[in-house]
């Protein structure tokens, strides 16, 4: 131990000096800390979606080729989007269900645009763990409720794409969209 060398100066400068010294040292270290935190912010922010990704936030879908009972798969924000024209029978089936018995209570009206009840637009992303449910393509398994069926963990959705059975907690999400004409919608 080199006691000659390593004094903190307490004996030399008295209590008053020590306090001033400590204050300046603490202030300097705090400034360094604040600076380090400020630098970290942009380092984190750079991982958020970039401007070009955010710009691709809307998709236009042409509905004219979709017959009643048919569905198409397209993409919205790099994820599958299901657009289905429901048949009268499917609408009736959906309306028959009492929403209060559902896991995620919603009526078909709430999930469609006024006066366009036959157009069901949902994300093709199972609310359980994000697989793409079957049922949009011709001849795919539509599950026991006649809507969509997720093969990953067996979630079944009904004709209004509401969760009826299986582990998924929510109905298939309905994105924001609007009709730009009778046969076209703009999603996003």
């Amino acid at each position: 131990m080199a006691s000659v060398e390593h004094t903190d100066g307490e004996g030399l400068s008295g209590v008053e000096g020590v306090r001033r010294r400590d204050f300046i040292n603490i202030a300097a270290v705090s400034f360094a800390g604040v600076g380090a935190v400020a630098v970290v912010l942009p380092l984190i922010d750079q991982m958020n979606p970039s401007a070009d990704v955010l710009a691709l936030a809307s998709t236009e879908v042409d509905l004219s080729a979709i017959q009643p009972g048919q569905a198409i798969k397209t993409t919205f924000r790099s994820q599958p989007l299901f657009v289905r024209q429901l048949t009268e029978k499917e609408i009736a089936e959906a309306d028959k269900v009492d929403p209060s018995t559902l896991r995620d209570p919603q009526t078909l009206e709430e999930r469609t645009v006024d006066g366009k009840k036959q157009w069901l637009v949902t994300m093709g992303v199972c609310t359980h763990l994000g697989c793409v449910p079957l049922g949009a393509g011709e001849g795919e398994n539509r599950g026991e409720f006649g809507g969509y069926f997720c093969p990953c963990h067996g979630s079944s959705y009904d004709t209004a794409a509401r969760i009826r059975k299986g582990p998924a907690p929510k109905n298939l999400e309905v994105p924001k969209y609007s009709f730009t004409s009778d046969t076209a919608i703009l999603v996003g």
Binding site: M1, A2, V4, P42, Q46, A51
Partner: protein
């Protein structure tokens, strides 16, 4: 570590005690850059640049890892992804400019660190290994910087890659196979870009590893100091922490201010406009130059214009350029003067400053177009460069009469502040006029 009076690590908190028993990492840090490392008390600001170089490497690794998150190593998209990072990624412009400016600052700091070593002869025994490892770091930095410059795939990237790999083509017989092997093709292309990206990502971590060795080797004899006189006793040293951590903290602040001025107000000043043109294998820029930190070496490369019998000038230039760096590895055995510090070597000091000016001239010529009078100037400057290290230094060591050295570091410090009384009272002062283990 090597000084018996170094403070010993005694963990106070039980958690630190527990960690120190299992993995003595706290002890290692304490002995490396904490209170456990006694450092000469008379270091001047030139001793700040080692820590600053470490900081510059950290800045490069952090911003570089982020750039890699947004980069596409494919000749079709590389230029575009860098541009997109600048325009669309959140704070992307900051990351890119910090990385580009950071490279320049890394070299500025390292060059100052090297010239400090040259002036104070820090390469001399017992610190030869520190010097040699430092040169390894320098070589790795140059390779990393060169490959990094290729990644944006601008015109200078492409033609720089072509010209530098073309240097290997100057080697007889095996040159061309080596060049195509380096590039993975006959000209820089996708294969080159991908391997450069991979290595550019890897090498900084290798540098970090060699830095650990560099510091380790430094801690065996301890730091040198401006007098060049070895530490004689406890009165000559202070613990690294808090004395030099505080001084380095101030140095870091100044470094960051200068770095920020450059980064925020002149980020393209040290760059070349041609690198904002996407690589075009069909059209060479009028005036190809590497980044500024390679200019002195580039000037040496271009200074050879006359064939030496059967050796073509091109090969001579390549050999001389590599020799200009490799000769530094022999420096500890070329300069045999027992006195280290340039402060006590009047002749050496004059030639040292000539060397500094010489290297600046070489740098200027290296950045200038390859036409007269720059080629002639760089020929004279390059001749001096080789003569300085290979001829003049050994001769000075033989014939120079050094000034009297202080008896100890403490004596030098006290003389500086004119404190007479205390000086006589200090213990442990030998009257050895020269460091006994130099030479």
């Amino acid at each position: 570590m090597s000084f018996p009076w170094a403070e010993h690590y005694t963990p106070k908190h039980p958690l630190m005690q527990w960690i120190d028993e299992k993995l003595p990492l706290p002890r290692l840090v304490y002995n490396a850059i904490g209170a456990g490392y006694p450092v000469p008390r008379n270091l001047n600001y030139f001793w700040n640049f080692g820590v600053l170089a470490g900081l510059a490497l950290v800045i490069q690794i952090v911003t570089g890892v982020i750039m890699a998150m947004h980069y596409g190593a494919n000749t079709l998209v590389a230029f575009g992804t860098v541009e997109q990072t600048m325009r669309d990624v959140n704070a992307g412009w900051l990351m890119r400019y910090a990385h580009a400016t950071g490279a320049s600052f890394f070299f500025i700091v390292v060059y100052l660190h090297i010239f400090r070593g040259l002036y104070y002869s820090s390469y001399k025994a017992p610190r030869e290994m520190v010097w040699l490892l430092g040169l390894v770091i320098f070589l790795l930095m140059m390779a990393t910087a060169f490959m990094g410059y290729v990644l944006p795939w601008g015109q200078m990237s492409y033609w720089g890659a072509k010209v530098i790999t073309g240097l290997f083509g100057a080697i007889p017989v095996v040159g061309e196979p080596i060049q195509t092997w380096l590039l993975g093709g006959f000209a820089p292309g996708n294969a080159s870009l991908n391997r450069f990206f991979s290595l550019h990502f890897l090498l900084p971590f290798v540098i970090a590893g060699v830095i650990i060795l560099h510091i380790w080797a430094l801690h065996i004899p301890g730091s040198s100091n401006p007098t060049g006189v070895e530490v004689k006793g406890p009165q000559d040293t202070v613990p690294f922490h808090p004395y030099y951590t505080a001084k380095d903290g101030f140095g870091v602040g100044i470094f960051l201010i200068l770095f920020s001025i450059m980064l925020f107000y002149a980020p393209n000043y040290l760059g070349h406009p041609d690198n904002y043109i996407e690589a075009n294998p069909l059209s060479t820029p009028a005036h190809i130059v590497p980044e500024w930190y390679f200019w002195p070496f580039y000037a040496i490369l271009r200074a050879f214009t006359v064939d030496f019998f059967f050796v073509p000038a091109k090969l001579l230039g390549v050999l001389a350029m590599f020799a200009s760096i490799l000769l530094l590895f022999f420096l500890p055995w070329l300069d045999t003067s027992p006195v280290r510090s340039g402060n006590y070597r009047p002749t050496f000091r004059k030639f040292f400053w000539i060397l500094v000016i010489d290297v600046l001239i070489l740098g200027y010529c290296g950045g200038a177009p390859a036409e007269e009078p720059y080629v002639m100037i760089s020929q004279v400057a390059a001749a001096y460069y080789f003569a300085h290290f290979l001829i003049i230094l050994p001769l000075i060591a033989r014939f120079e009469k050094p000034l009297p050295l202080p008896n100890s570091i403490t004596e030098a410090v006290l003389n500086r502040y004119n404190i007479q009384g205390e000086q006589d009272a200090l213990p442990g002062m030998g009257s050895d006029p020269q460091p006994s283990n130099a030479g």
